[in-house]
């Protein structure tokens, strides 16, 4: 489809106005990880959404790829202080994945293959703000960067963009994830420097 999502064109490089406070620009794509990279073959991959009422929605890789695909150009910001501007991704909007999901919940926990978790408010996943991305710079997403697919929530620090994404669980309350339970901020807005709790 080749839709360029609006709102994340991040071209304001002059004076580094695109870089949040406390960040510096990097030209590389550092690999940060809290553990070994799980190997997940596309044939085995699944993405689920479970509601607080126990309803489960799930997509195989083929079903996921049959959904409308969008191109995303965005800046990304890691809490370890690097920012990478103008990155290119391809994936499926969370708005698409949530189309048939009925929920009154405000909170979610993202679950990764390998056991990583992070909490993201639902309002930060919807409204054209987040994707499940499987391509980076025109190539399949490397395993080191979360392949076959990762969550992409570029307006929050990158620890919220869970690598090796497996699914989203809607929660009745805001439960801290892997880093949030160890001192990191429950929300993680880089423009507000929401690094620590």
């Amino acid at each position: 489809m080749g839709i360029i999502s609006s709102g994340f064109h991040g071209k304001r490089r002059t004076g580094n106005a695109a870089i949040p406070p406390g960040q510096h620009e990097t030209g590389t794509f550092p690999v940060l990880t809290a553990g070994p990279a799980p190997y997940v073959a596309r044939a085995d991959w699944e993405f689920f959404i479970t509601t607080e009422a126990g309803q489960r929605h799930a997509w195989s890789w083929d079903a996921f790829m049959a959904l409308p695909q969008v191109d995303i150009r965005t800046d990304i910001h890691c809490v370890t202080s690097w920012s990478k501007l103008g990155t290119s991704w391809r994936g499926v909007s969370l708005d698409t994945l949530f189309e048939d999901v009925e929920t009154a919940s405000e909170f979610t926990t993202a679950h990764s293959y390998g056991g990583y978790t992070t909490n993201v408010p639902l309002r930060d996943l919807l409204g054209g703000k987040a994707w499940v991305a499987w391509e980076f710079d025109g190539e399949p997403l490397e395993r080191a960067h979360g392949g076959p697919a990762r969550l992409l929530v570029p307006h929050l620090y990158l620890w919220k963009s869970a690598k090796w994404i497996n699914g989203i669980e809607l929660m009745r309350e805001d439960i801290p994830g892997f880093w949030e339970s160890n001192g990191y901020h429950m929300h993680g807005d880089p423009w507000r420097e929401e690094r620590y709790s």
């Binding site: 070994p36 596309r42 990191y184």
Partner: protein
Amino acid sequence: MTGISGLPSQGAEDPHVEDPRVEDHDIAGIAGNPIPHLDGNAAAGPLWELFRIDIIAAIGRCKNCGAVRVFGEAAVYADAPGIVVRCSSCDGVLLRLVETPTSYWLDVSGLSYLQIDREG
């Protein structure tokens, strides 16, 4: 959960044996893209700062798999928003340490115990 270092190398020597990982060509960097980790020594410095105890020779029991190992043998992932120490037997999380501007956050809930030599 299996790390790169723990994966068998089947298929590497025998061209007729297909490696199921390599079969999935759509995921790049299968063999040449290991996630680096260090051994337990890498966590010794920060933990010394906290407790003034040399933890390298301490013996710990993994709460996940029950393995009893010397701390220095654990796998340390330091390229992360904090330090994560994992069991070298099962990859389970033994310890997390985050340093914020105002606090240390230490989670040792993956350890049943640490046995520290008083002579050490």
